[in-house]
Amino acid sequence: MSKKKGQYILSAIIILVVIVSLGIGRPTSTILWQLRMPRVIAAILIGAMLAWSALIFQTTLRANYLDGSMLGLANGSEFAVATSLVLLPNLAPYRVLLGAFFGILVVSILRYSVLSIFKQPLLLILVGLSLAMFFNAATTIITANNGFIGKSLSTITWIDVVSLFIIMLIGWLIWCWYSDKLTYYAIPSLQGKQLGFNESKVSFWLQIMAAMWLGAVTAIIGTVFFVGLVWVQIFTLTKALSLKERLGLTTLTGILLTVLADLLAHWVMAPDELPTNAVLLIISAPLLIWIMVRWRNEI
């Protein structure tokens, strides 16, 4: 199947899911505009931002089996957001902006510690996972008795959507500024340097962008482990598609799965809402197994 065709099919399915999500059960116009619309828009933005942030981390770190959750970034900023909201509950409407801010903060700290010490992908993953475990536990502890709810798109507001949109736009500007430099990441760092490519500067800005997106997304649906990694791998396997070619497909996959996860989270146990991040993991996990099967066949 060609890349174009794949993109059309994915887009068509996304539109279908969006229509179902908005229209199912014939909502009143208040429900449609105050509840469903922001949810669907948020799901689309979240899916795209999660997918891109994973691609950016994999590319700039030249490590194919990574995403922000595995670097401890998602958990780190989730912990920071949770702590801030426990201390200052009035900030809750601005959780997305807080998340973006903490994403940037955590990635900056990581760049001067973990990322500059552990260059080998395997070490990076192991160290990242231990950070993730730590912050995951810390978040659980700090939110245990505070009735802190995040993790579900059901709590979304228009302020969240607008904030997400602003964060997306800022990231997009950074992307536009640096995206023509991405080819340098296809060759070893040394060769880029010899051509005068300022890799550490470009990586810095792209990682800031990716972390800002991941932080913003995490503030709404919590940490979603591995999904970025899984979505990217679906199209990395063949080795025939370059980063720019995979970008569209990966983003559409991310959007589709997030919109679908939100639909399922809302309807499977209605009127109870399921956590969106859990549903997202549940539908992404079989994909990972499918990827493994394909790997095995290839090897």
Partner: protein
């Protein structure tokens, strides 16, 4: 470019022990020596890629192509070579390199789908078209078939008129025939000189711990066998 008393350690082991030398502004230098003696290590230090003790004077612009190279993404050959600026002072040089290495046959292909030799041709083209004073090539002939070995050698002969090529080679006949200077690395020293000065039976037998025979063609040219 000059280097003085370059010393490099890996852990406790001294690999390069206070070597000094001069790199002229043109010509081909072939670096010869047994496996693991420190050829790659020396070039990496001169390229500023690993720490060393000692001094480097008149640092020239240079590019280093390692022994093994890999790609991290599925880019096209033309995208890859397009990364090198097209401002080489020698008019027509880029074209000549592409022609000799038959890059046109590979244009539009994904680098990951190329064979070992095809990838090596692309990497060599990538290094050769850069406008630097010194091109360091670590075992550039690996993976190349006879035809491309020949073409590569004639390309560096041309390039050696406007820059310096430092290549690591294992084929003594190539080192003998195509270099202006040979650096023979021994356990203790760096022997530098013309091929006839350095590639002597005595030196080679000691360095390689193998009996290297030196013959002469009817035209009087030397060649080596074991």
């Amino acid at each position: 470019m000059k280097f003085k008393n370059i010393k490099i350690k890996q852990g406790q082991k001294v690999i390069i022990n206070e070597y000094s030398g001069t790199i002229p502004t043109t010509g081909i230098i072939s670096v010869v020596g047994p496996n693991g003696i420190g050829k790659t290590t020396l070039l990496k230090a001169l390229a500023g890629l690993i720490p060393y003790e000692g001094v480097i004077l008149d640092q020239a612009t240079l590019t280093y192509l390692p022994q093994k190279n890999r790609f991290y993404d599925a880019i096209k050959v033309d995208e890859f070579l397009g990364l090198v600026p097209t401002n080489h002072p020698q008019a027509g040089w880029r074209k000549q390199v592409f022609k000799q290495l038959d890059i046109a046959d590979l244009q539009g292909k994904n680098v990951n789908t190329l064979s070992g030799g095809q990838q090596q041709r692309v990497w060599l083209a990538f290094s050769l078209i850069q406008s630097k004073s010194i091109l360091m090539l670590d075992e550039p002939l690996t993976y190349l078939d006879l035809k491309y070995q020949q073409r590569f050698l004639s390309l560096i002969s041309t390039a050696s008129q406007f820059c310096t090529i430092i290549q690591i080679v294992h084929d003594l006949n190539i080192a003998n025939q195509y270099s202006d200077i040979v650096w023979l690395l021994t356990v203790k020293t760096l022997l530098a000189g013309t091929p006839t000065q350095v590639l002597t039976a005595t030196n080679l037998n000691i360095v390689f711990a193998t009996t290297v025979k030196i013959h002469r063609t009817s035209a009087g040219q030397r060649w080596f066998s074991v």
